[in-house]
Symmetry: C2
Subunit: 162 residues, 2 copies
DNA sequence: TTTGAAAAATAATGACC
DNA sequence: GGTCATTATTTTTCAAA
């Protein structure tokens, strides 16, 4: 593949500062961003566009409190699946309501799905009716989430050189 | 607790439309948002502020591609912990670099940590040196993430009545 | 990459239905 | 809740250095 600038893009200090600010506040004005990152506005525009074109910044979104928004019951559901069924299962999970995130894993389990439903009844229905019914799913194991939190965010961004 | 308007806030149709748009595009202008949600701009300001005060909208952020930003190795790490150690472990995980998200679970495992490191060596170091060294951690089990994706987003938001 | 200028768009507020 | 009007800011582009 030719180097079209989209792959193997190495972040420099300016990129990292921009990312840090945009992760902390996705609606920050370009003015404020440029100031905080110690660059000109014009430069900020250029860099942000480049980061988006490179696929490093995928987009911007609102962070919603699952619980306060009505999704009070969350769980991880491990799926044991047939060897050749990952692709099909993946396609279905992408559109299954209340599925937040899912991963194909190495090790004892095959697929780990993070689901968030309005309540335990909804969770139960989701697991028993939808997940276990997916073509290729052999068995499921569910762990309720009692409490959760996020890590420190992109602290690693300060620790790299360029 | 008195009803200060911050708790038990029930979303109506307008709130849901606003959230949907802001999740899809966190930097959308209030103008465009108001148009898409079929409300006036003034109304949009009021609603967004209310949603933020109620803690439903926690903030805004850039969605970063972990892989393209240099975090190519991700894994789930299950921690088996001492009964009384959750609080302390939680506090430490909040500041531990490369920790993305973690949960206190019911069931066989105690804590599930999602970590993202630059490479497998970094991942190994993180698990062996940092996570296993946390006070209260008895043992760890690691599952590498080969592939991952997100669910459909807030589709459930359309399916509720008010 | 930076700076300054300038037009267009948007934000934010307040008065009034 | 919605509409309108107004002013302050910001965005965005461009030219110049």
């Amino acid at each position: 593949m030719a180097d079209d600038g989209l792959d193997n893009y190495v972040l420099d200090t300016v990129d990292r500062r921009i990312i840090k600010e945009l992760v902390a506040d996705g609606r920050v004005s370009i003015r404020a961003l440029a100031t905080k990152a110690n660059i000109s506005r014009a430069h900020a525009y250029v860099r942000i566009e480049r980061l988006q074109n490179a696929g490093i910044i995928e987009g911007f979104t609102a962070r919603i409190s699952h619980e306060r928004a009505g999704l009070g019951a969350s769980a991880f559901v491990a799926l044991s699946i047939r060897q050749d069924s990952w692709r099909g299962i993946s396609e279905q999970l992408r559109t299954l309501p209340f599925v937040d995130h899912f991963s194909l894993l190495g090790g004892a389990f095959d697929v780990l799905v993070l689901v968030r439903a309005p309540d335990n009844a909804g969770l139960r229905n989701l697991v028993l009716e939808r997940l276990q019914g997916l073509d290729g799913v052999r068995s499921t194991t569910t762990w309720l989430i009692f409490e959760e939190a996020n890590g420190p965010g992109p602290t690693w961004i300060d620790e790299q050189t360029t």
